[in-house]
Amino acid sequence: MLGILIQLFVTFFKIGLFGFGGGYAMLSMIQYEVVEAHQWLTVKEFTDIVAISQSTPGPIAINSATYIGYTATGGSISGSIIATFAVCLPSTVIMLIVCKFFLAFRKNRYFFAALKGMMPATTGLIAAAALMLMNSHNFVDYKSVAICIAAFILAYFLKIGIIKIIFLAGIFGYVLF
């Protein structure tokens, strides 16, 4: 148990520390650590958590830390607390330092060059998260492909809200599968 708690802490600390580019970019990192490296979740379970995170309030990083902390420890709240604490810790400390030296950071061209330069790479990380989930676990047959295309059209062209799309997809899933 203590071993898992330490692993959870280290893993989510790392996710928090390198989680540039917002929630979606952090997804590929969470998936890499939690599904590939530690195998705490299957790809299907991970996708379910992303869906749950998108339909509940709060940042995806915190939602997935709380959820994975619970399941990885076999249903213990201590796992949730450790993982959530660990994912918030790095950004809290970094943000405190930035607040203290706000002016110095604002003028530092290296700091902002690094940040600007990371934008294309973090965009790629979001794409990687989507690509890694495009597999036979999540796409059972042509009906899955149809749902994926329909969801894309609703979100991108018609600007329908995320929760409505997830709700609709759930109804279609229940009827079609």
């Binding site: 979606y24 996708t47 709380t66 060059a113 979100a155």
Partner: protein, 180 residues
């Protein structure tokens, strides 16, 4: 004491009502901390947002740290961070308890069979939006594609991608490009 409570309540609201996360919550944060509480003015808000989006971690947490620390120091920061985290922590914990019970039910499995491919589409949408915003510049698309392929096909850790891209940007900015 009242100030701590106000900080906690404001950020509890932000944590509890920002469905979908990220950019959805920025207007709500602005309404709470600028228009309603007047903790910072709108100019400071824009500066803070740039910082909160630049450092790693969830934007909501970074904003909470900035405001809490600015108004009431370390204890204020504790109030705002806890306020942001507690709503999603409690909701997800309840779902986790419920979901691990019903995960193997046929009905739940069928519902999620429909949701999973939709999730893939929902993650793809921001990628296209960001590329569109940057004007579909060829070097941005190339770097994004390289980083996506590194993680997706080559199995390289996203942490390595972040470190390498940050270093490349500093080197490029220092030695090649003279304007910042």
């Amino acid at each position: 004491m009242k100030q701590y409570l106000n900080l906690f309540i404001s950020f509890f609201k932000i944590g509890a009502f920002t469905l979908g996360g990220g950019y959805v919550m920025i207007p709500l944060i602005e309404k709470e901390v600028v228009s309603k509480r007047k903790w910072i003015n709108s100019e400071e808000f824009v500066e803070m947002l740039t910082l909160a989006q630049s450092v790693p971690g969830p934007v909501a947490i970074n904003t909470a740290v900035f405001i809490g620390y600015k108004i009431k120091g370390m204890k204020g920061m504790l109030a705002t961070v806890l306020g942001t985290v507690i709503p999603s922590f409690v909701i997800i914990l309840l779902i986790a308890v419920f979901f691990t019970e019903f995960e193997n039910s046929k009905a739940v499995e069928r519902i999620f069979c429909g949701i999973r491919p939709a999730v893939v589409a929902l993650i793809a949408v921001p990628v296209i939006n960001i590329l569109k915003h940057s004007g579909f510049k060829i070097h941005i698309i190339a770097i994004a594609a390289a980083s996506a392929i590194s993680v997706w096909l080559l199995g390289i850790s996203p942490v390595i991608v972040i470190i390498v891209s940050g270093l490349c940007a500093i080197v490029y900015n220092t030695f090649i490009s003279k304007q910042c």
